[in-house]
Symmetry: C2
Subunit: 373 residues, 2 copies
Amino acid sequence: MTVTLADVAARARVSPATVSRVLNGNYPVAASTRERVLRAVDDLDYVLNGPASSLAAATSDLVGILVNDIADPFFGIMAGAAQTQIGGPGDGSGRAGGEKLAVICNTGGSPERELTYLTLLQRQRAAAVVLTGGAVENPEHQAAMAAKLAKLADAGTRIVFCGRPPLPEGDALVAALAFDNRGGGRRLTEHLISLGHRRIGYVAGPRERTTTRHRLEGHREALHAAGLGAPAAEGGAGGPGAGSGDQGADGDPLVVHGPYDRRSGYEATLELLRRAPDVTAIVAANDTVALGACAAVRDQGMRIPQDISVAGFDDLPFSVDAVPALTTVRLPLFEAGARAGRLAMGKENPPPGGIATIAAELMIRGSTAAPRG
Amino acid sequence: MTVTLADVAARARVSPATVSRVLNGNYPVAASTRERVLRAVDDLDYVLNGPASSLAAATSDLVGILVNDIADPFFGIMAGAAQTQIGGPGDGSGRAGGEKLAVICNTGGSPERELTYLTLLQRQRAAAVVLTGGAVENPEHQAAMAAKLAKLADAGTRIVFCGRPPLPEGDALVAALAFDNRGGGRRLTEHLISLGHRRIGYVAGPRERTTTRHRLEGHREALHAAGLGAPAAEGGAGGPGAGSGDQGADGDPLVVHGPYDRRSGYEATLELLRRAPDVTAIVAANDTVALGACAAVRDQGMRIPQDISVAGFDDLPFSVDAVPALTTVRLPLFEAGARAGRLAMGKENPPPGGIATIAAELMIRGSTAAPRG
DNA sequence: CTGTTAGCGCGTTCAT
DNA sequence: ATGAACGCGCTAACAG
């Protein structure tokens, strides 16, 4: 029923080996022979058997892209960009030549699923794996990840980090693109301080996430530099079991943690406003959270930016259309994703030292202004 | 270097076949034996060789999810939801048991890439394929798709449509979940008409897309029912080669086509306002386009909804946070995606007749109001 | 319940 | 430049 390489060979009156060679194109084959083989392929509608091919060659054409939440454009943009570099433009025939199969795996931010996907990709003998977005900072999980990635690298899988710092165990097959979250966070808060804000609320992302920590650290750097430091560091006092919605277990009353979504921004902002009615600005962990913060501020009868300034992070496409337009920090998500894709394909050399830091650009718009009075 | 099934068998003092049986769990194995085997697997850090397994079993654990634009939350939400039903929750060990590998493939809306991805999935002997979002209505491409899908189905791949009507060739392995785009579009425009609007601009999606056509048809149905019909149907007069940004080649001056993005909404709205300064409402093909439309309206110095009403479609998460909140049509994207995932896994029976229509719900919010005077 | 025996379809030596 | 033979690692009969 299903047509195999041998069938093609028979029709083209050559040996199976020859067909294999023209298909993989890595061997010298006479032009006339190639012609006959290709015609036979088309005539028979032959499609290579991927598993058989991968088994024999001990490598597959699968490239995995891991994301925390594919419903979030932050990841969608990066993943889509990476795929453009990996999937190949196609030759229009739908025949599928040498392109790789770039596949996006949605971990939902769960460490278990992250590991499971890596195992699944390892099982498929993936050619490369791209890990996007913030990493979970649990030591146990980090160790498990490092071990798993080491095994993948051992098996020849290329590893690329995109938007997250690499794990300690820097391998040769590993390249990393890290966003300057700390610097971006710092400049954003500096901007608010320069406008005259002194009491600034911060809606942070989930705990134990590199992205969350770095952005928050940048915020605190700016605060401290201006002599506005909080009483103490968080100290991680919330402890295990303090899940999402954990708001108030902190040393710093002006910081509230929550997931990276709109609802969290809304609720955390209400909490912040309750705790500290004198805040004149609110910085959100990202733009989606900022949108929720804006809604909360308005529902409290306050205007943006006259009564309260609000700022986000990422500069997602919708942010410029918010009313007022959102002040935020732009991350070149598409460019970074595309570069990660190229690194995964080996089309581009890894940055010196294996790690490149991607600059973040402050975008000042209408949602931030000087505080009243 | 790499540990195989035979190694595990040796260590557990059983035959390779037995190891295979406990790993696949589809055969009776004595509990004590299973125990020994599993321990050997853990001791050796064994990971199944996917290609070899797929080759022998003539089927793989790959499930493909095709989307038009993964950077668009419309697709991100559906795809993520589908993956939750397919990837399995993981057993926390990262060992990866019987779960499938759900992978998202981003076609970018290109027919060629769509076909290429299908070929790639066919090559991998995918267990199932989920096609999401609107289909391209080019007859040639439809024929190619039908042929390709028939071949996939022949090879045992389950086919699921999610958010698009099924192709004519209804196969037994095919299930379809279609959104009621036409009904939603109709009710949205009816709402506008009931508010008193008579001149309504429409920013449509790209031509030759089922989604675009159905939403627009719903709009026109409402118009005609109210005696507000346009002079003539579009007639497809734009013809081939009329790419994106095609604005004005229509029979109906109140309809402008463009891609499903913010910029298109912005520019199309300016064009609409130029052509017909007397419009009192603008309906956009989706929420993202509506955001661009809002920006254009405001940049022209007009207020929403006092001067002009604006409405979208999809009810994406950010729409409720627009200012004013966007009137739109809600599509249960997550639920539909999850159901598609279940259908792909064979966990759920296909709807009677193979096709289910998913209702669309009108969400009336602040961006629409009665026209002035 | 478990072991033995054959391939699955292709890539890759070796020859020629 | 091409063909012949072998084996990749696993599953699926078939015995027992």
